[in-house]
């Protein structure tokens, strides 16, 4: 099947098998390996990306379901050369160790802050509760997201991002 998916502001047209998972489409067909895969049962969340502005586990979405839709991945999180406050927060607060869960965590965090610029610790824990981290004990992930909230973590206009992304790719 031929599908066209907009990823991080860029349109990609590819022929895919109907059963192909979005996570494999992103990783294997588009080479966007920042999105990871970690389980067979939709439990770990390392595959989290945005589909039309909301986080989804890309292992539970077929690539064909993304046909005509917009996907945002970790590769589209920075604003050009400048890291998103969420990315800065994860660096500043040691919110990652092996880095495997990090892209998914950051995508959820970005969405959370877009909808609640000042989340409590409980809100943050709840927001990432569908995602696992085996390294950090979550403490510094929570702190990283709080850091982002306190350092200009509020949303940037989507159009501005899209524009930047196009320039970058």
């Amino acid at each position: 099947m031929q599908i066209t998916v907009t990823v991080n502001g860029e349109r990609y047209t590819r022929g895919v098998e109907p059963r192909l998972l979005l996570v494999h489409f992103l990783r294997d067909d588009l080479g966007l390996t920042g999105t990871h895969w970690g389980c067979d049962t939709s439990n770990c969340g390392v595959c989290a990306v945005w589909l039309d502005g909301a986080p989804v586990k890309s292992c539970t979405v077929l690539a064909v379901m993304a046909d005509g839709h917009e996907v945002r991945t970790v590769e589209g999180l920075a604003h050009g050369a400048e890291l998103d406050p969420v990315q800065q927060g994860f660096v500043a607060c040691h919110g990652l160790q092996c880095g495997f869960c990090t892209p998914g965590m950051m995508m959820t965090a970005r969405w959370l802050l877009d909808h609640d610029p000042d989340p409590s610790e409980e809100d943050i824990r709840e927001a990432v509760s569908g995602q696992l981290c085996r390294c950090t004990g979550y403490e510094n992930i929570v702190r990283s997201i709080r850091w982002a909230a306190e350092h200009g973590g509020a949303a940037r206009p989507a159009e501005e991002d899209a524009g930047r992304e196009e320039v970058r790719t």
Binding site: E17, R19, L20, H24, R27, D28, G31, L32, T33, G34, T35, H36, W37, G38, C39, D40, T41, N43, C44, V46, T73, V74, E75, L77, A78, L83, Q87, Q88, F90, V91, A92, C93, H94, L96, Q97, C98, G99, F100, C101, T102, P103, M106, E121, I124, R125, E126, V128, S129, Q131, L132, C133, R134, C135, T136, G137, Y138, E139, N140, I141, V142
Partner: protein, 790 residues
């Protein structure tokens, strides 16, 4: 950007160098490696725990248009590769030929043009099995008439793997005979799995022209893997390159060599193409290195006034179908014999019997420090059982028996020499941070109201940094590690190390070690690791050995460079080397501090035409191998506060205070991160994680739906404290810390829950303390959750 102002030149808080790529999604994990013409492998696994293989028909799979090769045990037998040596001098089937011995065992390997086709082809392989009765319960493994699992081994008539003991039996019996109080508690440390979020995998690329094999692999020990490939496959070692790129967590899961790795190598040889194999989550949980599975009937003897006199245990160790634990050869039960813990105990004796069962092989994994985890859990549970028996507060009983600072270096009764410690100080600090006395008051009030609140204390002594070559080896390879340091003419440096990070942040901390020694900023030091073609030999990262062993090598090689720099500086300044003094980053003339040269100036001069004294070579580069004189012994005191819902059995860990002492802290931010992660692991093991089996040997923990891991919601906000007691024998006084929290925390959680249930007459509950387990224990009907048969 730093969290606390200025970047340090050396030790101190500093953000990680590696994060720049990770937060952009630019890490390179094994599954991110893509080579031209690459094919994909998939493993067919046994659905049965124990069965004879009657036939394997691969014809339909071979006919699949996208399949390039199908490899079976028979194919491998033809190449002499059907069996491989394990790290414990046993053998393990790469692909089964005669029998399958656990559910999930590797039976065939398909190589196809894409992942999905490889999976499709597995469905087309027809294996006929003749089922055999399985051995599931380790306690039945040595029964007369138990099915013999390893009948591949000549003359084998039972499932016995080893017997091992440590300590003094007679002295211990004597102490028990005269003690006022003896308590006993049978406990199980159930089988768990490290479950790093990245599963295991490999990309194997055999270049048919040069004969060079390049393997990108999820390995914590690239050099050991290279040597093993050379031994297994008979390939010349210089023609093997093992690359361990970014690793998505290891925790001991990625120490061993798995059949899938070997199959990918064979697949590449057979097809002439690179072959990628990445296991799925079920394969990871069902077939790769599990941890624990120790049955421990502990006993403790004490005087009426609460002096612990002796401890003994006769452990039954479930090793699964192949003994493939990865631990120093001399110690088949790892470092379990550190089970006297942190106490001044007169006599101790342990026996460990290892048995085969029809379960996945492995045993030493999951941040266990070669089974210090099991040892600490045993002794810390026993101390609480004793406290309950004596009616003494468990923190007070510990305080009374902890080793005193003046006893160090301390030789325990099973032969360990603890290097340094101030244990009472750490426990006191933890109690202060927790407001222990207040918590006890609150608990008394809640108990009045019928609420179940528990306070759990644990104290641990870790043994990390394997190890002295004289005593410690893996398959005959001594556990020393190398380091190489090159200083470029402009004063920038490259450090090459033998260990491999799986998230511990080596690229930052090892640069900080060199920075501390040479006064070069850490940003100017590149750390190269995880590539056998580019780094010196060493045994890798596990057992918290990176800082104690390789960290020492890094410090010593930097000191060598510093001494070379001194000679060059003396030529530059035309003074004797003896007249030079070091301050961070610079040699200067004694008594004339303005007369000096910086490392950058010296580096340039070392590469210049400057005339050097007789016998002094140019350049500053150096290498070294570090053979540790002893292990290092980090320690800590943990306090857990838990509330139990009497109606549902649900446990909520409300607070967790952890005081860790790992000696010198190279980067406190990273140390704290290591502790946070270990605490979550300990909480997970205590409350929810178990790889259970039904009576047919079916694995009941084969997915994240069944094998539960803690999320951000179950974890409290960890409260940390620290004391610093440097290791006297380590060049920078550092001890390992990666596993401390995993070792120390499960007992604190279990002690808290048992403490909460004490008004109900509960003395012990085996992990994991699921709502069902707690609910039943509260009703006097505890059950074993490692087996479905209860």
């Amino acid at each position: 950007m730093t969290t606390t102002g200025e970047r340090p030149v050396g030790f101190g808080r500093m953000t990680r160098k590696e994060d720049a790529r990770f937060v952009r999604g630019h890490g390179t994990y094994v599954d991110d490696v893509r080579l031209p013409g690459m094919l994909y492998g998939a493993v067919l696994r046994s659905p049965l725990a124990h069965a004879r293989i009657v036939s394997v028909d691969t014809s339909a799979a071979e006919a699949h248009p996208k399949v390039r090769a199908v490899i079976t045990g028979e194919t491998l037998a033809g190449l002499g590769l059907a069996w491989m040596p394990t790290l414990s001098y046993d053998t393990q089937a790469v692909l089964a030929t005669d029998k399958v011995r656990f559910q999930g065992q590797e039976v065939a390997f398909v190589v196809a043009e894409d992942r999905y086709a490889a999976r499709d082809a597995l469905e087309l392989i027809d294996v006929e099995y003749d089922p055999l009765p399985p051995v599931v319960d380790a306690r039945r493994a040595l029964d007369p008439g138990a099915p013999v699992i390893r009948d591949d081994k000549e003359g084998r008539t039972d499932n016995h793997v080893f017997d091992w003991e440590a300590g003094d039996r007679a002295a211990t019996d004597e102490v028990f005979a005269r003690a006022d109080v003896v308590v006993g508690q049978d406990m199980l440390y159930p089988r768990v799995h490290p479950a790093p979020l990245e599963t295991c995998g490999t990309v194997a690329d055999m270049d048919a022209v040069t004969g060079k094999l390049t393997v990108w692999s999820t390995t914590q020990a690239p050099h050991a893997h290279r040597t093993l490939y050379a031994m297994v496959a008979g390939l010349p070692e210089h023609k093997i390159r093992v690359i361990s790129p970014d690793i998505g967590g290891g925790f001991g899961n990625k120490v061993g060599i798995y059949p899938g790795y070997v199959c990918a190598v064979v697949g590449s040889i057979v097809t002439g193409k690179p072959v990628k194999w990445v296991e799925d989550r079920s394969e990871n949980l069902m077939s790769t290195s599990f941890a624990r599975d120790y049955h421990m009937p502990g006993e403790m003897a004490a005087s009426r006034d609460g002096r612990i006199l002796g401890v003994r245990v006769k452990v039954l160790a479930d090793h699964g179908a192949f003994n493939s634990t990865a631990q120093p050869t001399k110690y088949p039960a790892g470092f379990f014999h550190i089970f006297t813990g942190s106490y001044d105990i007169e006599a101790a004796h342990c026996e460990v019997t290892g048995v085969y069962t029809n379960k996945a092989p492995g045993g030493v994994a999951y941040a266990c420090s070669f089974r210090v985890t099991e040892a600490v859990y045993l002794v810390e549970r026993m101390v609480d059982v004793l406290a309950a028996e004596l009616g003494t507060d468990p923190a007070e009983l510990r305080m009374r028996n902890l080793l005193r600072p003046e006893q160090f270096p301390y030789r325990n009764k099973t032969g360990w020499e603890y290097d340094s410690g101030d244990y009472p100080r750490a426990l006191r600090l933890a109690m202060d941070l927790a407001h222990y006395e207040e918590l006890r008051r609150e608990q008394a009030e809640r108990r009045e109201r019928g609420e179940l609140m528990g306070i759990g204390v644990s104290f641990f002594t870790e043994a990390v940094g394997a190890g002295p070559r004289k005593h410690m080896d893996i398959l005959g390879l001594g556990m020393a590690d190398g380091a190489e340091l090159r200083v470029h003419p402009t004063g920038k440096a490259v450090l090459r190390i033998s260990v491999q990070t799986q998230g511990q942040g080596h690229e930052t901390t090892f640069a900080q070690i060199v920075a501390e020694e040479l006064g070069i900023p850490p940003e100017d030091i590149d750390v190269v690791h995880g590539d056998t073609d580019q780094t010196p030999f060493g045994l890798g990262t596990y057992g918290s050995r990176s800082t104690p062993v390789s960290g020492a090598a890094a410090a010593l090689v930097a000191r060598k460079v510093r001494e070379r720099a001194r000679l060059v500086a003396s030529a530059m300044l035309e003074v004797s080397p003896d007249d030079l003094e070091w301050e961070k980053g610079r040699w200067f003339v004694t008594g004339d501090p303005d007369q000096g040269r910086t490392m950058a100036e010296i580096a340039l001069a070392a590469h210049s035409t400057l005339e050097l004294p007789e016998g002094v070579e140019g350049h500053l580069d150096a290498s070294c191998v570090y053979n540790p004189p002893n292990l290092t012994f980090p320690f800590g005191a943990y306090i857990c506060v838990a509330d139990v819902d009497a109606g549902t059995g649900q446990v909520k860990v409300r607070r967790f205070v952890a005081v860790d002492d790992c000696g010198t802290r190279i980067n406190p931010m990273i140390v704290e991160g290591q502790v946070h992660g270990g605490l979550a692991d300990g909480l997970g093991m205590a409350l929810m994680q178990v790889i259970a089996f039904d009576e047919d040997g079916n694995c009941l923990g084969g997915s994240f739906m069944d094998y539960l891991l803690p999320t951000a919601v179950e974890c409290p906000s960890w409260e940390l404290g620290e004391t610093v007691t440097p290791s006297p024998h380590h060049p920078i006084g550092a001890k390992g810390v990666g596993e401390s929290a995993t070792v120390g925390s499960p007992a604190a959680v279990v002690n808290a829950v048992v403490d909460a249930l004490r008004p109900l007459g509960v003395r012990h509950v085996d992990m994991p303390l699921t709502p069902a387990a707690v609910w039943r224990a509260a009703r006097g009907q505890p059950f074993r959750s490692d087996l479905a048969i209860t």
